[in-house]
Each structure stands twice: as structure tokens, then as C-alpha cells.
């Protein structure tokens, strides 16, 4: 019970922005700068810079490549900044592969999967957080174990089942798979968010005569809403980025999602038309990056809650 108390308080501090300002305030009051000597501090900045360079340079190179004309891509001395930037690669990318259709498929699959996953996961997460029953424990166990499945062991039977239902090479089939695939992490995050909503509020509502459903809808749901949105957006990103299931389940180009279509730019012998490839890859990343920027803080918060748990 003590651990539970500690967990709750930690969860709440990790997610409120007030805690961040308070930590920086304490460190400002305590003479931190005098503690770390000048050279050591410089070393820290240098190390941080090295990390950022390592993490950023492939992406910058992708962007740079996407604006290079074919002549520069063939040259033996590529430059960081395109000498003669062009949008031709972007045009060519759309000509070579059905990118718009693929983006539409990805959008439908990711949106539906995210919405369905969150709609069914939220009530379950609520029960898992509030009731310490055998079922809740089994569900937690499943969340952990599901991380260890090699996808092959799941996809072969799923493939056979979906084939019997004539759901191979169809988006609904893929969406069903994505929903279940997104559930473990959605449950994991949502349980953390539910725990952060005080049960006392619900009890107070019950004392005031609100029905159980009424309590959930008008007390719990509004408090949970930000967490639910963050979870849905995270599910969206994972589905948007997913490759393996889409590769196995979608056969014809007009049904395929963006990641699968992207691989078509790479020829059978591993040769690729670099410019259009880079342009398409860059475009395919943008939606994830935008969504990620929106929820970034909450994701780290959710991870914190989940990671600190148990």
C-alpha cells in the first residue's frame, strides 16, 4: 500500500509541469554551477552535441538528398547542401508509385485502429486500474507477454484466419490486427492515466447519488481526456509506421500502406532511385513527426508512469 501511495504521487509529479519548474528552481537556488567545474561543463556540452549530431545527421542527409538533382546524386563528391536544389524528386516520386493512394490507406488504417483501440482499451484500463482482480492481473500479464511474441507466430495463424474470412488484402483485416497490436501499449499507458485520477472524486459523486455510468461519463472521462488523446495519437503513430503486418496482409499495390509502397522504390537487386526514394521517405515521415511533436511530453509522461510502476 505504501508503494501504491508513492506511485500515485510520483505519477502526478511526473506529469504536471509545475514539478519541472520546481526542480529547476531548487537547482538554481543551490549553487550548481560552482559544483561542476568549467572544463567538465564544457565536456558535457560537447558530449551532448556529439549525441545530437549522431541522432540528427541521417535525417538531415535524407532531406538534403531529396532536393538533389540526379546529376549531383551521381557525383562521387556529394555535398551537405544541394548545389542546385530541385523539387523534381518529389514530382517523380508521385509519378513512380501511388503515394497518394498509399497515404490514404495508411490514414484510414491508422485512424481507425487508433480510435477503436482507445475506445475499447479505456474501459478495460479503468477496470485494471481500479479493481485488483484475477482478470486485471491476467490482463497485465498479457500486456507483458505480448511484447515477447515473435510476430511470425501470431501472423501465420492470423493470416489463415483472415484468409478464411476473406479479409486478406483488405484494410478492415489490417485494422483488426492493428487494434490488437496497439492494445498492450494503450492499456499500459491508460492504466497509468486512470491511476492518476483520484478514486475519491468518483466516490464523492456516488455519495451525491450519481449512477456508476454517470460518474464515469461526467467525472472520470473529462479528467482522463488528455491521456486518452495522447494514447490515441500514439496508437496512430505506431499504426502509421507499421510495416510487417501490412507487408504480409496487403498484396496489391492499390491496397498497400505507405511503408510497404516505400519499399517498392528499392529494386530487386537493392538498387534504388535515390532522389525519389528520399523524397517519398521524407513525406511519409512528416505526419508521424507532427503528431509526435504534439504529444511528446505526454508520451514521456506516460512512459514514466508505466516505467516507474511496480
Amino acid at each position: 500500500m505504501t508503494s501504491r501511495t508513492r506511485r500515485t504521487s510520483r505519477t502526478s509529479t511526473s506529469r504536471t509541469s509545475t514539478s519541472r519548474t520546481s526542480t529547476s528552481r531548487t537547482s538554481a537556488v543551490r549553487p550548481r554551477r560552482s559544483r561542476t567545474s568549467g572544463p567538465a561543463r564544457a565536456g558535457q556540452y560537447l558530449a551532448l552535441l556529439a549525441y545530437l549530431v549522431f541522432l540528427a545527421f541521417p535525417f538531415l542527409w535524407l532531406i538534403s538528398t531529396s532536393f538533389k538533382p540526379a546529376r549531383e546524386l551521381g557525383s562521387l563528391h556529394p555535398t551537405w547542401v544541394p548545389e542546385d536544389p530541385t523539387l523534381a524528386n518529389y514530382r517523380q516520386a508521385f509519378d513512380e508509385q501511388p503515394l497518394l493512394e498509399a497515404a490514404g490507406n495508411s490514414l484510414i488504417a491508422a485512424l481507425s485502429a487508433a480510435v477503436v483501440a482507445v475506445v475499447i482499451a479505456t474501459p478495460m484500463a479503468y477496470v485494471m486500474a481500479r479493481h485488483r482482480t484475477l482478470l486485471a492481473r491476467a490482463a497485465t500479464g498479457w500486456v507483458v507477454v505480448s511484447q515477447a511474441f515473435p510476430f511470425v507466430l501470431v501472423i501465420i495463424p492470423l493470416f489463415l484466419v483472415l484468409k478464411n474470412l476473406h479479409l486478406i488484402n483488405s484494410l478492415p483485416g489490417l485494422i483488426m490486427v492493428y487494434v490488437v497490436w496497439a492494445l498492450p501499449f494503450a492499456l499500459w499507458m491508460l492504466v497509468g492515466y486512470v491511476r492518476a485520477v483520484p478514486a475519491e472524486l468518483e466516490e464523492a459523486a456516488a455519495v451525491d447519488g450519481a449512477s456508476r455510468l454517470r460518474t464515469l461519463v461526467s467525472v472520470t472521462a473529462p479528467l482522463l481526456a488528455p491521456g486518452i488523446v495522447a494514447t490515441a495519437l500514439f496508437a496512430f503513430i505506431t499504426a502509421w509506421n507499421e510495416f510487417f503486418f501490412a507487408l504480409v496482409l496487403l498484396k496489391t499495390p492499390e491496397k498497400q500502406t505507405l511503408p510497404v509502397v516505400l519499399t517498392h522504390f528499392i529494386g530487386a537487386e537493392g538498387t534504388a532511385d535515390l532522389g525519389p526514394l528520399a523524397a517519398a521517405a521524407f513525406l511519409a515521415t512528416l505526419p508521424s513527426l507532427v503528431v509526435f511533436a504534439v504529444i511528446q511530453k505526454r508520451i514521456t509522461g506516460g512512459m514514466l508512469a508505466g516505467a516507474v510502476k511496480s
Partner: protein, 321 residues
């Protein structure tokens, strides 16, 4: 604002609840039985989990004991352990398995060390920390396929930045990293490390919040150096999360597929053919469902053993504290 105050109140409430003891009637029904309302809440998620996750998993395991193939007309038959016997003598599979372990360890260990360094840096009171934190987790948002494509461009023998940098530094002409027999696996391992660093860093940053600040300061007063403080104060608090995230990383890395599929598709000559790629080809190129399922079972078995070891390690870590 309301959320924050509500949370604060919850903290107080919990403490009160603690004073009352277990308070069984509070929100959990006694005896751990769900009432009708709770079942109503659970079922929408439980049914898909059972039908599309637990069911297929059991079905998949059972397939490993059959001669199931794609596009066959005669009914599938039970063949007992025959698949596993074949697998035992399948040197290609064990080569792939060995490469998988090499890859998983080769990615997980540097991933952890680098992420630990980054997390420690990001927990320092540095300027631009917010920017660094945001940038550091960008790879997380990228589709694995795009990560693979990106690094193909970096590794490209002619138009790639890596060889160009080597040439500029006068370190030779560079090479074709992804098709070289010796360089392919190290090259894809670097990509694996890069791709998995953000999650690990975020998890470790979370762990660093557990480190008691006062203890750190007390140790410093007593004249403990940075390394000493890390070992005696930071690490004990960080250890549970470090163990958890490395174990998860190991599993995820061992099961990874898309990165290597895009980078090398298992080549050259199978040097980067991870078990997942091998099983995928067996199942969906050659249609050997039963045999591929047996491979999946072997992978699960190995992973389970590793999970068990990890759990034991975690429990022991808990005792020490």
C-alpha cells in the same frame, strides 16, 4: 489546473486510505470478483484480445506440430515433433539464430550504454536541455522503413555521406558497407542502436527521477567523486528500470524485422538474416507455415528463458535494496 489540484488531493486521499488499511470496500469489490458493470467495461477489449491475440498464439503454437502449408488441397495433418527434428538439423536456421543473438546483444548493449550517457546528460542542468530532449527522441517517431531508407542513403557507396566523410578525412575510399561480407552486420547494428536509443533514453530518464537528490548531495559533501556517486547513489536507484528496459530491448531487437528487411534483406549471403526474416521467408515465400511456426516456437522458448532470468534478476535486485 484542475487536474493538478485533483492529483494533489488524490495524494492526500491515498495517504488517508493507507491509514485505514486495505479498505476493501472502497472501489474493488471484495473477493476479487467482477460485477456485471465491470464485465461490460472489460468485454470490448477482452474479446479482440482473446480472438485475435491469445487464440492465434495458441493456434500458431499448435501449427508447429503440423505439416501446414500454403495453397495445399489435402488436409493438414499432425506430425508431432517432426518440424522440430528438422529444425535441429537445419544449419541455415541456426546460423540465422546465431546472427539474431549477435545482433540482439550487439544492439542492446551499446544502446543501453549510449542511452545511459545521454540520459545522465539530459538530467543535468544544461542550457538547451529542452531542445536536446525533444531532438533526442525524434527517431522514435520515424517509420522503421524510413529509418532503413535513411541509413541506406548514408551508407551509399557513392552518394553516401559516410564514404564522403571518410574520403575527406583521408581514411581511404570507403566501401560498400551494406553488401560487404564483413561490414554488413556491424553496419546494420549501428542502425539498430540509433533507432532504439530514444525509448531507452526516455525510460532511463524516468528512472533517474527516482534517484534521491539529498543522497546525492550528502555523498558530494562527503567528497565522493562523480563516478563514485554514480555507482553508490544513482545506479542502485536506476537498476530496476535499467534491467527492465534492457530486457525489453533485447526482446524487441531479437524480434526486429523491418529495419534489416529494408537495409539488406538478409544479405549478403545471409550475413544479416535475422530469425524473423528467415521465418518470414519460410512462411510467406515458401509457404511452409508449420515449419515457420516451429521456428517461432523456438524463438519464444529462448525469449521465455531470458525473461525468466531477467525476472529472477529483478527480484534479487529488489531484495538488495
Amino acid at each position: 489546473m484542475t487536474l493538478a489540484t485533483a492529483k494533489q488531493r488524490s495524494g492526500k486521499g491515498r495517504r488517508k486510505a493507507k491509514g485505514r488499511g486495505r479498505a476493501p470496500g472502497k472501489s474493488a469489490p471484495p473477493g476479487g470478483v467482477l460485477d456485471h458493470g465491470a464485465w461490460f467495461l472489460v468485454l470490448p477489449a477482452l474479446l479482440p484480445i482473446l480472438v485475435l491475440s491469445v487464440g492465434p498464439l495458441l493456434y500458431g503454437i499448435s501449427l508447429a506440430f503440423t505439416d501446414s502449408q500454403s495453397g495445399r488441397t489435402e488436409p493438414t495433418e499432425w506430425i508431432g515433433l517432426l518440424n522440430f527434428q528438422d529444425l535441429l538439423h537445419d544449419t541455415l536456421f541456426w546460423d540465422s539464430f546465431r546472427i539474431g543473438l549477435l545482433w540482439a546483444v550487439g544492439v542492446t548493449v551499446p544502446q543501453f550504454l549510449l542511452a545511459l550517457g545521454l540520459a545522465l546528460l539530459l538530467s543535468q542542468n544544461l542550457r538547451f536541455r529542452w531542445l536536446a530532449r525533444s531532438l533526442a527522441i525524434v527517431p522514435w517517431a520515424m517509420p522503421e522503413v524510413v529509418v532503413g531508407i535513411m541509413w541506406r542513403l548514408v551508407y551509399n557507396p557513392d552518394a553516401g555521406i559516410l564514404n564522403e566523410t571518410l574520403r575527406d578525412l583521408g581514411l581511404g575510399d570507403g566501401r560498400d558497407w551494406l553488401t560487404g561480407i564483413g561490414s554488413a552486420l556491424p553496419a546494420v547494428i549501428v542502425v539498430g542502436v540509433w533507432a532504439g536509443m530514444p525509448q531507452t533514453t526516455v525510460a532511463l530518464l524516468a528512472g533517474l527521477q527516482n534517484v534521491p537528490r539529498e543522497l546525492h548531495e550528502a555523498a558530494e559533501m562527503d567528497g565522493a567523486g562523480a563516478w563514485r556517486r554514480f555507482r553508490t547513489v544513482t545506479w542502485p536507484a536506476l537498476k530496476p528500470i535499467a534491467l527492465a528496459i534492457t530486457a525489453l530491448n533485447f526482446i524487441w531487437n531479437f524480434n526486429s524485422f523491418a529495419l534489416v528487411y529494408v537495409l539488406t534483406n538478409g544479405g549478403p549471403g545471409g550475413r544479416t538474416r535475422l530469425p524473423m526474416l528467415f521465418a518470414y521467408e519460410e512462411a510467406f515465400r515458401y509457404g511452409q507455415f508449420g515449419y515457420a511456426a516451429a521456428m517461432g516456437c523456438v524463438m519464444v522458448a529462448v525469449i521465455s528463458v531470458l525473461l525468466a532470468v531477467y525476472l529472477v534478476g529483478r527480484l534479487r535486485g529488489g531484495d538488495e535494496r
